[in-house]
């Protein structure tokens, strides 16, 4: 296109310089020859200069066309919605002693004004970027920024119905728990977390005499007049230091979130419901009558090597009370090791704890979860407790987690486990559990649960039993 323009313009220019037929036709025939001859000799004399002038004109025109082309390109690029992108960037700069700033290191590493040495530093700066952005991109970025500043709210609701059969009373029991989870970021690299919980129903434990807990989610928080109470289950702040290797948590803690963890058996709302398989029964002092580990003010420190080893210690006051702060605390430490075995990841843990309550017992335990192929995971726990005015006690459990073989249901899982423990009253308690969890949607899961207690240790109010069958249905909603 540009070439055509030059040709047409050049032809016009040459025509005007050299003259065309119209110029000749305008004069009389007699004088035409003489004039023509004179003009020709003049033209011949000025021809080289004229050609040069034309060439210069052409070059100028060419430059103009190029400018126009680039302008056109620019306009084309700006035809769509454009808003300059704005970002805060971390930039490097070099600063002289007297404050002169350079964006690259000056020659010789010295300030060109006063020859003082320059120091490099990192600084943050808002920059406008030449980026073409769609409106949707701008809106998305703003929303993301807003969401980072807000308190995030999560909701978890679990409902469990259990029917007992076999030895002991045949009864149907329902239990439900509702948790509101709040997270916020009060400072960089720092997270605040709170869990507000309400629980209704005690499950079958009060009348079956289980000490490990047939429903680890139960433990009614209702008042005697049946009014629901809401409690603050956890409230803590966590931060990281040393490039994330050291993590510190302080506040009202559930220490089972950090110790004796297990990928197969560690969550009563989605995995095994029996307290025997949620944590080692000898891990700590359980809340009377239910499988909960007591939550209380405490501190947790963990060191992660980001290789294969992890170390953690925890300290917690013996009661959920600020007045108990001066008393001998519950202390626990754990070493974790991860490795590849059987073509899968395995996590192995060794823990030891000392109870600071009235019954000062000590216990050690091991715990593992190991992938065996793509579908199967195995887990195991063993614990030994001594002291505390009780006879020495053991507890162990073994089990499997089987991922769904159906490709259409990758999150469904089946679990099978058996566990045994010596209760504080000296009697043995052992039971097995089988569950299958279906995910109906991403946020809604239903589990069918079958538990068989070979022996239940009983307590002061309920005699020991043997052969109790419990069938259950669990629903869980998570947002």
């Amino acid at each position: 296109m540009a070439r055509k323009v030059w040709v047409v313009m050049a032809a016009g220019l040459l025509s005007s310089v050299f003259g065309g037929p119209n110029h000749i036709g305008a004069q009389g025939p007699e004088s035409a020859t003489a004039e023509k001859s004179q003009a020709t000799s003049q033209e011949e004399a000025t021809l080289p200069q004229t050609v040069k002038a034309v060439e210069a004109e052409l070059a100028a025109l060419k430059a103009q066309v190029q400018t126009l082309e680039s302008k056109l390109e620019e306009l084309r690029g700006k035809m769509v919605q454009v808003e300059p992108a704005e970002e805060i960037k971390r930039v490097s700069e070099w600063v002289c002693e007297r404050g002169h700033v350079f964006s690259s290191v000056p020659e010789g590493g010295r300030c060109p004004y006063d020859q003082t040495p320059v120091v490099s530093r990192e600084q943050y700066r808002k920059v406008k970027l030449a980026r073409r952005q769609a409106l949707s991109e701008i809106v998305e970025a703003r929303l993301e920024e807003q969401s980072r500043r807000r308190v995030a709210v999560g909701v978890s609701a679990t409902g469990i119905i259990q029917q007992t059969a076999g030895a002991g009373p045949n009864r149907l029991r329902g239990e439900g728990s509702f948790d509101v989870l709040l997270t916020a970021r009060p400072a960089f690299n720092t997270l605040f977390f709170a869990d507000v919980e309400a629980i209704g129903g005690n499950g079958p434990d009060p009348f079956t005499g289980s000490v490990s807990g047939l429903n680890a989610d139960a433990g009614s928080l209702q008042d005697s007049d049946r009014a629901d109470r809401v409690t603050l289950r956890e409230a803590w702040v966590t931060t990281q230091l040393f490039e994330g290797r050291l993590t510190g948590v302080v506040g009202k803690l559930d220490l089972t979130n950090y110790f004796d963890r297990n990928t197969v058996a560690n969550d009563e709302t989605s995995q095994f419901v029996s307290g025997m398989f949620v944590n080692n029964p000898l891990l700590g002092q359980l809340v009377a009558g239910v499988g909960h580990q007591a939550n209380a003010p405490g501190l947790h420190l963990a060191w992660d090597t980001f290789r294969q080893w992890r170390f953690g210690i925890g300290v917690q006051v013996p009661e959920d009370s600020g007045s108990a702060l001066g008393r001998t605390p519950f202390t626990i430490g754990e070493i974790g090791y991860s490795t590849q075995l059987l073509a899968g990841l395995g996590n192995y843990r060794l823990w030891g704890r000392r109870n600071g309550g009235e019954k000062r017992s000590r216990a050690v335990g091991i715990n593992f979860d190991q992938w065996a192929g793509q579908w199967l995971r195995a887990f195991g726990r063993y614990g030994f407790q001594t002291g505390g005015g009780e006879r020495d006690r053991h507890a162990w459990s073994l089990g499997l987690g089987i991922r769904s073989l159906l490709v259409s249901r990758p999150r469904d899982e089946t679990g099978l486990a058996y566990g045994w423990m010596r209760a504080a009253n000296g009697r043995a308690e052992d039971l097995a559990e089988l569950y299958h969890r279906f995910y109906l949607t991403e946020h809604l899961a239903v589990s069918l649960i079958a538990q068989y207690a070979f022996h239940l240790a009983g307590n002061d109010r309920v005699r020991p039993r043997a052969g109790v069958l419990v069938s259950g249905l669990r629903t869980q909603v998570n947002f």
């Binding site: 690299n189 980001f306 249901r409 990758p410 995910y439």
Partner: protein, 399 residues
């Protein structure tokens, strides 16, 4: 006549001025001799230019301007080392840069939002995906023209020519499939379904009405015998036999896998899973998972040292972090945090395997990982938002 002469003179002066300006602009580049075998080319998205870094000294050699609002996404050196092909994403162009003159020699108008591409082994053809209009531009790199635009893709995101230019594979991120394209006819010969997300969609259609995480890349094994195509939604990797274009095996990996990266010895494929923040190691002989290692959030790439015994994954969570792996023992080998809120993009391992150059868009830097010691140094002020890196003879990827 005087006016005419004056205008002529003015034109001449303008022409001289323009020439001088052009000359001055070009001088630094003309004076520069770039060895494409030792030069790293960094695509800066927001300054719309290419920064050249000497990998012997880690000094910035200069920058090649690509044009206003180009917002280039990735670049790649042609196999003869003479030119650089650049995807000019926001101006809908493919650009060819002559590495002798360091100037853009061709601006090829193509489809909307070109991002990723691959160049054939002989350097004559390139396939460039236009994300927004779902087309793939076939570029003749000898003539600098678009010879064909293949229709019918959904966010064409990943490209791989097989060795010998017989065939190429194109993956769609907005769908769960890979297309096999014959290099002679430049037609889609086969469409190959990847993963079983259709089952998941039947159970939970709401999820798939808002977002699809399909196949980011078709990654060939080093011998070109198989393609490893990773489907984000189903968490599966399809192993495609390139002779029959059939899925011969489907391997389940973690949640939201990104894509497969081949180790330089060809024995392993590593897949970062951003959903469960793990890295899956697949043995390419057994075509089976041999290890699942701890990863990090928002992993955008994995590079290796020369031997393939060490791997480095790049994670951009609260911190920009380099995750180290010992592939001999199949275990984690540590982490190195580069800084807070860094957005780590993609990286290039030098052909000798001694260094890895990692683009970090948030702080306009390129980080250099020295693979012998795992020491990391930084090249600051590379350009605005360095997004991708490339080097002749190095394994190339983008995100």
């Amino acid at each position: 006549m005087q006016t005419y002469q004056r205008s002529l003179l003015k034109g001449a002066v303008q022409a001289v001025e323009t020439g001088l300006i052009l000359l001055m602009t070009a001088l630094p580049c003309v004076a520069l001799e770039v060895n494409p075998r030792t030069t790293l080319f960094v695509t800066n998205r927001d300054s719309s230019d290419i920064t050249m870094i000497d990998t012997q000294t880690d000094q910035i050699l200069g920058r090649i301007p690509l044009g206003e609002l180009i917002n280039a996404h990735m670049a790649m050196v042609t196999p003869d080392g003479k030119r650089l092909l650049v995807a000019g994403t926001k101006r809908n162009q493919a650009l060819l840069v002559d590495l002798a003159s360091l100037k853009v020699t061709a601006r090829i108008p193509i489809g909307i939002e070109p991002e990723h591409f691959d160049i054939s082994e002989d350097g004559t053809l390139a396939l460039m995906g236009n994300l927004e209009d779902g087309t793939v531009s076939v570029l003749n790199l000898v003539r600098g023209t678009e010879v064909k635009r293949i229709q019918g893709f959904s966010e064409p995101h990943g490209f791989a020519f097989l060795p010998g230019r017989k065939k190429a594979y194109i993956s769609s991120f907005g769908a769960h499939e890979v297309a096999a394209v014959t290099a002679d006819s430049l037609e889609v010969a086969r469409r190959i379904a990847v993963g079983s997300s259709h089952f998941l969609a039947s159970v939970n259609p709401d999820r798939f009405l808002t977002e699809i995480k399909g196949v980011a890349n078709p990654t060939p094994t080093l011998d070109g015998r198989f393609i490893y195509a990773t489907d984000g939604d189903s968490g599966e990797v399809a192993v495609i036999d390139t002779t029959t274009d059939e899925v011969v095996k489907t391997i389940r990996v973690g949640d939201e896998p990104w894509r497969a990266y081949p180790s330089p010895d060809g024995t392993k494929m590593l897949v970062p899973n951003n959903g469960d923040e793990t890295v899956t190691v697949i043995d390419t002989v057994k075509q089976a998972v041999v290890a699942t290692l701890r990863g990090g959030p928002k992993m955008t790439g994995i590079n290796f040292d020369a031997t393939g015994k060490k791997a480095y994954a790049f994670s951009s969570g609260e911190y920009g972090t380099v995750l180290l792996y010992d592939l001999g023992a199949l275990r984690e080998a540590g982490q190195k945090r580069l800084g807070a809120h860094l957005s780590l993009e993609t990286a290039t391992t030098t052909p000798d395997g001694h260094k890895i150059y990692l683009a970090s868009s948030t702080d306009n830097s390129v980080y250099v990982i020295h693979t012998a010691t795992d020491e990391i140094t930084r090249i600051a002020n590379v350009g605005e938002s360095p997004w991708a890196t490339t080097m002749l003879g190095a394994y190339q990827y983008c995100h």
